[in-house]
């Protein structure tokens, strides 16, 4: 079978939807964060596929920026979640109840 742009985009779209589903459905902050990373990587896959099939390297360049930024975001994000865990002994969204109407 010949793998074309459509197949790559299909996988990328599925990954994005799974990531989004993970963020919306799961209640554990770490798992939600993993879902977010999945969304980033879905975009990376789409960018590389478009780049390959458009014969244009801009997309691959963008992927490097996204990977770098995502790494910085994970470093900050996990530190934050750990700090919250130390304070509350929980990483569940239901326990984030200090700020309310």
């Amino acid at each position: 079978m010949n793998v074309g742009l459509e197949q790559y985009l299909m996988v990328s779209g599925l990954l994005f939807c799974f990531g989004l589903l993970g963020v919306v459905v799961r209640r554990n902050l770490i798992i939600m964060y993993m879902g977010l990373e999945l969304m980033f990587n879905a975009a990376n896959l789409a960018l590389v596929a478009f780049s390959r099939f458009n014969d244009n390297l801009d997309g691959q360049l963008m992927v490097f920026f996204i990977i770098t930024v995502a790494a910085a975001e994970v470093a900050v994000g996990l530190a934050l979640i750990v700090a919250l865990y130390r304070k509350r002994q929980s990483a569940h969204v239901e326990d984030l109840t200090t700020l309310k109407l």
Partner: protein, 495 residues
Amino acid sequence: MNASLIGFEIAVVLLGLGLLLLDLWTPPERRRGLGLAAALSLLLVLVATFVVPIPQEAVGFGGGYLFDGLALFFKRFFLVAAILVLVMQTEFADRIASGLSEFYALVLFALAGMMFAASANNFVMLFVAIELITVTFYVLTSFQRGRQASLEAGVKYLILGALSSGFLVFGIALVYGTSGTMSFPEIAAKIEANHSLAHQGLFQFGIVLVMVALGFKIAAVPMQIWAPDVYQGAPTPVSAFLAVGSKAAGVVLLLRVLLTAVPDLAGHSAKLLMVAAGVTILYGSLCAIPQRNIKRLLGYSSIASAGFLLLGLSALNLNGVSAILYYLGGYLFTVLAAFLVICIVTRSTAGQTSQEDDVGLFAGLHQRSPLLATALTLAMVSLAGVPPLAGFFGKFLLLKAVVESASSPDQTALRSAYYTLIAVGLTGVVISLYYYFGVVKAIFWSKGVGDLSPIPLSLPARLSLYVCIAGMIFLGVYPGPLLDLTDGVVKAVFK
């Protein structure tokens, strides 16, 4: 050539790094002064933007960085905001347990991100600039690690911010895939050459995803849910910088994407923008009514303001864009004045979670410190849109631009929609009168005031308050100079 274009950004980043180094040799009791030093240095950079010869319009870094009138306007805007925020931070210093210099330096790095955002001319620069701002704000929001509200606000901002970044990158991927380029002017040229591109489903979906992500930055529906929680939980100067800097960065990027890259599509999406504007105004105004926590109230008020900014955008004419810039100018002084007063007044009750930042804290403020009471009253009155203050003129210009669109002959199909939008905008203004005047009432007409001890004011705080008050009154009474400036900028940039 390229390096000289980003001179101001380099200066700001170097200042931030220098601050981190200076921290090593500064004894702890004097670190607080570093903030004032940074504010003064930024003042020098601001003066430099007027003195240094600047190219009329220049492009650098492979077309990714654009220096034009709009970029310069927003760079100055961000510099003024950061100077006032740094002063606010020195007032806040006693509530930061450790890492005071980092607290200052991070604001400078966020400022650099905003200044890059003002010049973004392709999606790579847009993404990197926006992430520099957002990641910095994750740290800033949760800077009071001992305070649970601050941590919680940080985590909420983190999850929703990362979600919007996910939308952003996927949107960029789709736009890049269908158009084959990242650059805004090139996308516009491709649409010009081949109109069917603008009607491709994937391309439109990509642009919508990018707009949703930018809507997160300005706190507009459907990505507005974080604003009240984060404003309430974050340290007060950070809330102020979020309200002014982060929002303005979102606005300038929205203008660049909609008006430079896809002007055609922007015309077709008028209805979408109108619905977003109307719902955002109503959501912000209605939800603000029952609030007792002033920072939360300002969070909802910030959502309502985002609605007014979108209202200017949905007018789809240059006067609307010019009105957006004017509104932001007035908003800068108004919101920073309000947050500065909150920052100073709440000093005595820091740490008591139950009544932290309650509106009741302002009871009898006019006896404790007339200057603070005047500044907060003016800020509330200006936000409510009462003449002759800056906020009134901003809202007036925005609504005027929509009226122009409603009565122009080439928008007949949308006429009734525009009139509905105007009605919604006016309703929002009327509702906002109620909750803003609740604060004014608490200042002057509270019963059973306990604490009437005068509030000491430091010289920098006093100066910043004078600047904010002068800005609010000047922009309301003499709108001419700024209006000429914004008109000129907008006409030069979006022919």
